[in-house]
Symmetry: C2
Subunit: 343 residues, 2 copies
């Protein structure tokens, strides 16, 4: 297989490996094309939501994940992800098939969230050691003129968590450390953990909530990423300038997460968890939201509440009644684990 | 100076070195903030223009340039750059001051084009060997509901070039190879070449044109980047599915570009040239556009025209009457020059 030269990819690679089979919905007036450096899209609303996040990795899954982490950042604002820009930086010795592979994942992710690829940049560069995928997603509100923030929580709001803590970390560990884990946990645990890729998107639960409840009662939403559940709640509290109390016993943790974290000695509450959604709602509707989500097949639980005192600082109340203070975003357990491995 | 750990930058760095002194215009409803992963902006139009481009480099200038190359990609669609998302990937051993330096350039660039920083991501990662800055710019039409593309040129349209060929390459060479050049060209040439940073934005000429002429007569615009002027005209021709004829003698080339290219044995027509704008216009107004731009202090010239024959292929007609066929984007002279140096 022929190695590609350094620099912007040649025209034939752009046309045959990047832009081939790219689907744009009808709101894309100027789709990505050789010779065009920007895209033009038509929105239904004058509010636009935008977010950007990088992912490292050479696989189809990395491309797919780049779409979902960016789509999640849009969805938490009660918005639909619509238009995706992606910059792909490949290291030297990249071949056409490597590009096709990452693009396959991107196209799959975009199909799942119903967004269009509208632009980006693809380059082979000796400035990167691994494939780096930088996405930027643009979206529009699910309800015209309305949006939700991470910082909109109010005192006495209940905190709802969907799915469980450590979802994404459990998936990553099951995929990357399968050989090691297979000696320590049941094979079915690993197989089920790998299926967690189907839970990485928070779009399904957000669609359900926004379609079913008065948006004025949904005060804040946030997706849990680096720093895990505790990092996510801290970020919401900081942005909302509120304190919080959450209860260890109420936090749903999947069996797969529990077992894998136990054998690797990791705290699931500090484990990266794209796919877990935090929702701050008026306490009058929180139980109904949990009920509705469960009816839709999405597990959820009220894990605590926000309080007026100690803005940005909160407590994890343990099963034994002791309190752990959370005043800073914790170092993610996945980074701690990986850094121990690389010594 | 303390090295930062790998991973997303700590909260204090985000607050004090990235987000400090970030100015958002009043159309930003949810500005970037710790704990918020997306931004919300209010547009005046239902058309949105978006583009994304990476820049490598650790300097204030690299940050500044990242804004302008992305703003140019928006401006060519007859749109104002408005909202910027930027992902900063720093290599290991980065200190806070490195981040502050790049951000200083970004803020300066944003002030110049009057755009807001609305989001992004800042991370220290061993996946990059140098600082990589990936920008995504979102904009809105200068005239509501209207936009221009690279692919809108019509047969018999005149091709106008602003400023000259090889602008950006001349600047880069003068800065990066000053010590070598100073032995071969007059010092004033180098000093003037360094001032070309003031010409990197194509926003001034585009504002002038769109404000002064009927947009229906401006059929296509494209900014010249990698592959230089010849690459830029080829891209426009390919996107418009037209052929072209351009005349070497009519192409403006600054004295600085001529001299620096001469001593380094480079072709200015294939030299990277952000800041040079290509415009395809109805021949009835092209002379007036050139006149108007000159009145505004921006040099411009009609360098040729598009033709119906040979879509995507064109000719450079040399001073001696011979024709050079352009059917592929040329390798940029800057890459050729740098790769010779690194052998």
């Amino acid at each position: 297989m022929k190695k590609l030269p350094l620099g912007k990819v040649p025209k034939d690679v752009l046309l045959n490996f990047v832009l081939k089979d790219v689907h744009c919905y009808e709101d894309v007036l100027l789709p990505p094309a050789f010779g065009e450096d920007g895209a033009v899209v038509k929105s239904k609303d004058n509010l636009i939501i935008a977010a950007s996040d990088p992912i490292t990795g050479a696989s189809e899954d990395a491309g797919w994940l780049s779409v979902h982490v960016n789509a999640n950042d849009i969805a938490v604002h009660a918005a639909y992800p619509k238009w995706y820009l992606v910059t792909l930086l490949f290291p030297p010795n990249t071949v056409r098939e490597d590009i096709a592979n990452v693009m396959k994942g991107i196209k799959k992710g975009l199909e799942e969230v119903r967004a269009s690829l509208i632009g980006g940049h693809t380059e082979i560069t000796d400035k990167v050691k691994d494939v780096v995928i930088i996405g930027a997603m643009i979206g529009e509100p699910m309800i015209p003129g309305k949006f939700i923030t991470s910082g909109g929580a109010k005192p006495r709001d209940d905190i709802i968590l969907t799915k469980g803590a450590g979802i994404e970390g459990t998936l990553i560990l099951a995929v990357d450390f399968e050989k090691e884990l297979v000696k320590k946990v049941d094979k079915s645990i690993i197989e089920n953990a790998k299926k967690l890729r189907n839970k990485i998107s928070v779009l399904p639960e957000i669609k359900t909530i926004i379609q079913s409840f008065d948006i004025e009662y949904i005060h804040a939403m946030h997706d849990v990423t680096e720093g895990g559940l505790l990092g996510g709640v801290h970020e919401m509290a900081y942005a909302s300038q509120l304190g919080f109390e959450i209860y260890e016993e109420k936090i749903p943790i999947l069996k797969e997460t529990k077992e894998i974290c136990k054998v690797l000695n990791l705290d699931p509450l500090k484990l990266i968890s794209s796919g877990s959604l935090l929702i701050a709602t008026d306490p009058t509707i929180s139980a109904n939201i949990v009920k509705m989500l469960k009816q839709e097949g999405i597990n959820a639980a009220i894990i605590g509440h926000f309080i007026e005192e100690n803005p940005g600082v909160g407590y994890l109340i343990k099963r034994n009644g002791s309190k752990e203070i959370i005043s800073e975003p914790p170092i993610d357990e996945l980074w701690r684990f990986l850094s121990m491995r690389s010594i």
